[in-house]
Symmetry: C2
Subunit: 340 residues, 2 copies
Amino acid sequence: MKTRIAVAKGDGIGPEIMEAVLNIFEANEVPLEYEFVEMGKSYFDAGHSTGMTEAAKATIENLGILFKGPMETPKGKGVKSINVTARKVWNTYANQRDFRTLNGVQTVFSKAGIQINMTIIRENIEDTYGGIEHMITNDVAVGRRIITRPGSAQVIRYAFEMARRKGLRKLACGHKANIMKLTDGLFLETFYEIAKDYPEIQASDIIVDDLCMKLVSHPEMFQAIVLTNLQGDIVSDLCAGLVGGLGFAPSANIGDNISIFEAVHGTAPDIQGKNIANPTALLLSGISMLRFLGLTGHAATIENALLYTLEKGVHTGDFGDRATKSSNTTEFAECIIANL
Amino acid sequence: MKTRIAVAKGDGIGPEIMEAVLNIFEANEVPLEYEFVEMGKSYFDAGHSTGMTEAAKATIENLGILFKGPMETPKGKGVKSINVTARKVWNTYANQRDFRTLNGVQTVFSKAGIQINMTIIRENIEDTYGGIEHMITNDVAVGRRIITRPGSAQVIRYAFEMARRKGLRKLACGHKANIMKLTDGLFLETFYEIAKDYPEIQASDIIVDDLCMKLVSHPEMFQAIVLTNLQGDIVSDLCAGLVGGLGFAPSANIGDNISIFEAVHGTAPDIQGKNIANPTALLLSGISMLRFLGLTGHAATIENALLYTLEKGVHTGDFGDRATKSSNTTEFAECIIANL
Ligand SMILES: CC(C)[C@H](C(=O)O)[C@@H](O)C(=O)O
Ligand SMILES: CC(C)[C@H](C(=O)O)[C@@H](O)C(=O)O
């Protein structure tokens, strides 16, 4: 029996990299069926304030899983990112990004022989992402930062469950509770409260600035870190940089009813249609989705083929200096298929 | 004629590293006189809520310059860091931290041959550092983030003036105005407004998460970056990590009437009194102070002696793996003095 999922190809390079990924899935006979939904910048421009049609919304809510390409953020004051809106609309409270050293993808850290294997779990709804701001006078802007106990608890519990599932020994909470004593204090208190239910996992906390200092010198120290939304956003991108950039980082937005697996890099309009974009991040997100759906065999096979392909030095034009063979998007996907 | 400045030795390892630095100053006949002031954790414990006596406060306000060692943050809800209080009390609105590759201090980046030379200017008073937070219910915490036009303007103008003084070609503004459209939007708008007065400096802006990704892969891209308080705090520590940690990063808090030059690393109570602490960060802060006071010749001589000493592999025990000679604090200072 095939599982039906919703697919939004995304803007810019979205359709090309989605095609590459779905071709790989097909070659591996992944038992999925796709409903392509109308979502992205053009739907926003056509008057859908959430960036999707009513039909798309209904389909996604019906199927529970959305696999999506990158989407362009509409311009203009008061206008919100389609990605951020989607997270909020469906209460996908946990954002999970897995970062690891990929052989064949050269970085400052891989050159130094440092092996990275780390998960960042970011609270995905609260914090200043509520967008509650106003001007008191023309010269004074105030924003509100809201942290709730249930909002913190659901993402923290997810993080501990993830750590348990993966058999991790430790989970850290990143925060700035020395300054934001009540808001981050609440997050931190909730963290240690929930930690009691997971005695096998060593819980610790670290101030976010210190965390960033350690991440750029000893990233191998960390296995998993849970943070509030904005700090998590910053730390996630920092970690993406450690392993080669957003082009190599998967992203999953997990909620109780709906989960979104997406590429979080840009839409790269400058190279759109040129068949040179790197589908790795979207493929890694797709692999996370297969695991989430219990299709672990397919996930492992495709992941191994991807890792092997990267390690052999096959890559699209945007990989940097380690090129032994530069391929276009289609060739890269074919190479992965050949290595399945 | 000698300039009088206030000196607070600090807590933990503070007195030892301050002594090392003042010995180096003395050996170079730096024309300064010191008034040692009562400031630090023990004064807080003795009932001075700002962490300093009235006499200390008066002296500092009279002299205008405070050179300070690290200070321990008192514990307890509602209690503020002495460092943060000092910044606020005297409106030292700009926090400047200079980061550069130090030969002899090995990091992941130095091993990769990447040369870093970069200044972070951080707004030092506003943002969530106001500490305006409350609990709406036991489960909901709200913090307020305040950004003002004059508060932004003074630090941004300082950053452009610093760039002009140093002959830099470019200055970037880091922000998250795509999410915090009004608060960070105001900071960003002010940045481009003031940029008009500095046509020789190329002004650009970058979203803070993207900035962190680039800093860990291509830090050589940046010359100077100005940011709001908390984002600046995070980015400053990240950058410290790039060049070897807080033990190698100077910090200056600049205000119109009072400026503070300080070591921002911890007080390291575990090694207190052992004469093994690394005085480099405090010495670098002292060198910035000498430049600020117009003592540029002394600053250059001492800086060269420090750089030469580090390059020769002389260092205190905490430097990591590049040891050719491990010295205690006194020996390290004597070596610098010998190299003056
Ligand atoms: C595009 C932007 C609004 C978004 C965020 O800040 O969450 C992005 O940085 C991300 O991490 O997905
Ligand atoms: C100690 C702490 C309150 C302080 C800050 O957050 O500003 C520190 O991180 C710094 O950068 O000086």
